[in-house]
Point group: C2
Chain length 139, copies 2
Amino acid sequence: MNTYKIDDVSAKTGLTKRTLRYYEELGLIETTNRTEGGMRLYSESDIDRLNKIVLAKEVLGFSLQELQQFIQMNETIEQHRHSVRSSEDKAERKVKLVEISEVLHREIEMIETRMKRMDTFKEELLALEIRVKEAISNE
Amino acid sequence: MNTYKIDDVSAKTGLTKRTLRYYEELGLIETTNRTEGGMRLYSESDIDRLNKIVLAKEVLGFSLQELQQFIQMNETIEQHRHSVRSSEDKAERKVKLVEISEVLHREIEMIETRMKRMDTFKEELLALEIRVKEAISNE
DNA sequence: TCAAAAGTTAACGTTGACGTTAACGTTATG
DNA sequence: CATAACGTTAACGTCAACGTTAACTTTTGA
């Protein structure tokens, strides 16, 4: 697999090097891969992840803390999917999954609420635009 | 018209008293009305305006600075609508209106882009939710 | 009428999300 | 193989958007 150094990743994501290190510090990403000398090596999937983070931040207005929770949730799901089921912690796992399902549900509802509000706002702007255009053509 | 004191407005808008004073300091709102003793008196339309500010901030992620510009734009429109047309600055006015129209157009497009991205994100969450629910019922 | 509740300004404190600088180690290349 | 370009950690700086506290005045209700 291709690896990238921090300047490449910065160019590809639009995030500064400082921000990349900061996100790592917060646990939003990991750089397990390092050169002998200690330089960070990023993979394609790291870049994908970073782009998703940017998206979620910009579009949904998520804070970095919210993103941490979200990422943790995703990881729990992945762990579950790839783990061998030993009957002992079956119950515990189910509880976690139900929790996750609830979080997801709330997130989805939040997004729907936001989209409705955005649509209301957009309608107002459209009405305003029409009035302005009328005013222009009346001059 | 009814007037409200700062605590009432705080309750009605969900903003703290500090925030209300801060918004005034920034010029997002005005309190021309004061009691003899200097206490702020808010009108219904002040509250409407504040609620719009909250909406634009939360839903669109506008900064307070962006909101200032937006409010200024609205005021320019209102001034135009209520002003007597003297032929000298007709041209100047038209230029301003066209500018405003363009800003509006860009805002609307931005909202549409965001809404599309949010919808994509929502679809991803829904897919995830389905997988989690399947996992739950398979336990 | 007089305390308690609510308001005022002014100033300093806090938090998130990075920017900037310093002091130093690593890699690439002419 | 030197040196420029790039990387590292650590620490302090900054800016928006308020929170908190202090010291004081105005309103209100028993």
